[in-house]
Assembly symmetry: C2
């Protein structure tokens, strides 16, 4: 539940909405006034349900929405279950794999669950757009689309470019943005959130509300998050995502793989870390003798704990650090020149001269403490071959690289 | 019912389809082959039902269709009852007077009746497009419109012009031609008839049939008929129509009012007069000493008898000729210099010196045989003023122009 803020605190919070994780606002003056007025806004966010998993790119708007909830505003999530089943009927490839309504419903439930990891359930309502779209007949659709001119739609850069380059633009593609605008009427949105690439579609909500004599929504657009490759927008098709359904370890590890230059952007767009803390990291990163890994660990911690809780995030960090160190070791591992065939694992270990006794060796084996190239060797009396280059681990702290035995030792 | 034609007669009939009342055929070669093959074609004609009355402009396609029926082909009339009720929802003016479904049905029945004045009922089927359009939901509509590209639609001159001149083109206007094309699929049209201005919409039928893997219809386009003013296309909004519901006298009279230059066009486009007879009129009209009125009377006779039968057409002709002659007389009328006030109509008539006696004058008056400027004077003893320039009729055969009395007679 939101806390009541003092006027200066409210002003500061609103200012932050227009600075952190911010691309554009329409109408900015009007929106700021409403946010400062104490009025509770209905904040629309449209979410696709043609895939069951959201990724960190979606979290950019969701964290923004969470900030708005902290000021008392109502999140109104539109699950595009109906539009998901429409798909792109002109694409024969896709038509074959069209998502059936059943699957969409299942997706929608998973999406809701992921959204509620970030949002306050007491200030969140979900609507399926099938509620109002499934009932439309040709007469109703004609009336809806008659509110919008082709002239206006062709002002959309994407559409104009397609026509200019003589690539086909199919008629239903003109209808989708209109339907998105129609959603705003149905839920009486005061504000719509979206990525910067959704500007045209969000503006359609204003156009439709005007056509239906409703007060027009404001629009708040957020930047896009780069993928973990740091190159392009995070997107499933590019395979550069951190999925909200990723395990804590995957999430932590993928975050650690982003380029250093993305650390601050990820902090701002994908976490709830306060701006003042982010500012601290920004300064640290600017200094030459600071190791960015430290900031990145904090970032991975902040992201992972959002979706998996603090405890799991800590475990993920430990696991990561272990694996990370191990991966760094191979080059520096002490060598054991004991390559060769051994009748039993115990004898191989004794050859290493690292264990005090046969008994100690057997005990370690039986505890699962002996691994060869990450395979646990748990049969003390089985024959074994050690090859040059293999990694032999003895317990958690000792690892060695097998080397060929010196010929004339 | 169609007669079986000998091959040469069939060839001649088909040739005539491509010469008389003909603007364009697509695909002409394919269509000619099919017409000569003996195959029975399903010939589509779409008819609006937002007005109850057709006019002679509509008869142009109907006479063409009648010719096709004479070769054994099936007329498939699509009554646009559903599309009529859609109207143009972006036009607020019109939205207020939107036709309700009840009215559309009533219109459609009247339209059918008018169509059957020209067509052979045994080779005519009617379909309401509500049959398939009313059941469409957003999913179905999306699929249908996804078959057509905006690029293609903007190739339509009307649309391109609107965009170029920055006049609004609303989205539903793009959908209407697609629906018209969809009609062709529903009735499995082999051939669509239309006015030359329907070319784009008829082509949409081919496009849609291809998209739905149906054999594509051919198209036969007819010229437009000029209005009775001879200036523009006959159209209700220009008030220059001959309506199929006009009385025989109106129909005959309006036909007689067309400019002489339109006689042959009307023969070709709006009658079933054989080409050889029309050719005769063409030659007559070319000769200097021929009075076009004769041809026009035959034309009016041919048109009127199509809708009212031969007997009514003859009566209309008689009535017209009577009125016509009267209208031609004024310039040549014998003058009666008897302008002035008279205490009774009898005295005025006696002053004309055209009647033998008071008794004859009274009888003529009481029979309704006396008219002053087309007003019957049936009160023998009422006072009357005759003014210079007025026309006085005595019985059916005598008419005079009133003149001022000579001062010094």
């Amino acid at each position: 539940m939101p806390v009541e803020l003092t006027p200066p605190a409210l002003t500061a919070a609103v200012d932050e909405l227009f600075s952190q994780n911010f691309a554009e606002a329409i109408d900015a003056v009007h929106l700021r006034e409403r946010l400062l007025s104490g009025q509770k806004l209905r904040v629309k966010l449209g979410v696709d349900t043609n895939k069951p998993d959201l990724h960190l790119g979606h979290a950019v708007v969701l964290t923004k929405l969470r900030r708005l909830q902290e000021l008392g505003h109502q999140a109104v999530i539109i699950l595009g279950d109906y539009t998901a089943t429409l798909g792109d009927p002109s694409d024969k490839q896709q038509a074959r794999t069209l998502i059936d309504p059943q699957e969409t419903k299942a997706n929608a439930l998973q999406v809701q669950e992921q959204i509620l990891k970030l949002l306050d359930p007491s200030l969140t309502e979900f609507h399926y757009n099938s509620q109002w779209l499934a009932a439309l007949d040709l007469r109703a659709i004609t009336e809806i689309v008659s509110k919008v001119s082709v002239n206006h739609l062709l002002g959309h850069q994407t559409f104009a470019d397609r026509l200019a380059s003589q690539q086909p633009l199919m008629v239903h593609e003109l209808i989708y943005p209109i339907l998105q605008g129609y959603d705003s009427i149905q839920i009486r949105a005061d504000l719509e959130l979206g990525g910067i690439d959704q500007k045209f579609n969000c503006l359609m909500g204003r156009l439709m509300q005007r056509a239906y004599d409703q007060p027009t929504q404001d629009i708040l657009l957020v930047p896009y998050l780069a993928g973990i490759d740091g190159q392009a927008k995070m997107s499933k098709s590019l395979g550069n995502t951190i999925n909200l359904t990723d395990s804590a370890e995957e999430m932590f590890g993928k975050t650690m793989s982003i380029p250093d230059g993305q650390i601050i952007a990820y902090f701002e767009l994908a976490t709830l870390v306060p701006e003042s803390v982010i500012e601290g990291w920004r300064q640290e990163l600017a200094s030459a003798d600071f190791n960015p890994k430290e900031a990145k660990l904090a970032l991975a911690q902040a992201i992972t704990s959002l979706y998996h809780g603090l405890e799991s995030a800590k475990q993920a960090e430990t696991a990561f650090v272990n694996r990370f160190q191990k991966k760094q070791l191979p080059a520096d591992l002490p060598k054991l020149a004991i390559a060769g065939h051994y009748p039993t694992v115990i004898l191989a270990l004794m050859a290493s001269e690292q264990l005090e006794s046969n008994t100690a060796a057997r005990r370690l084996i039986e505890q699962g403490g002996v691994r060869l190239d990450e395979q646990t060797l748990d049969q003390p009396l089985s024959p074994i071959e050690l090859k040059a280059g293999q990694i032999l681990e003895l317990g958690k702290r000792r690892a060695y690289k097998i080397a060929t035995q010196a010929k004339h030792r």
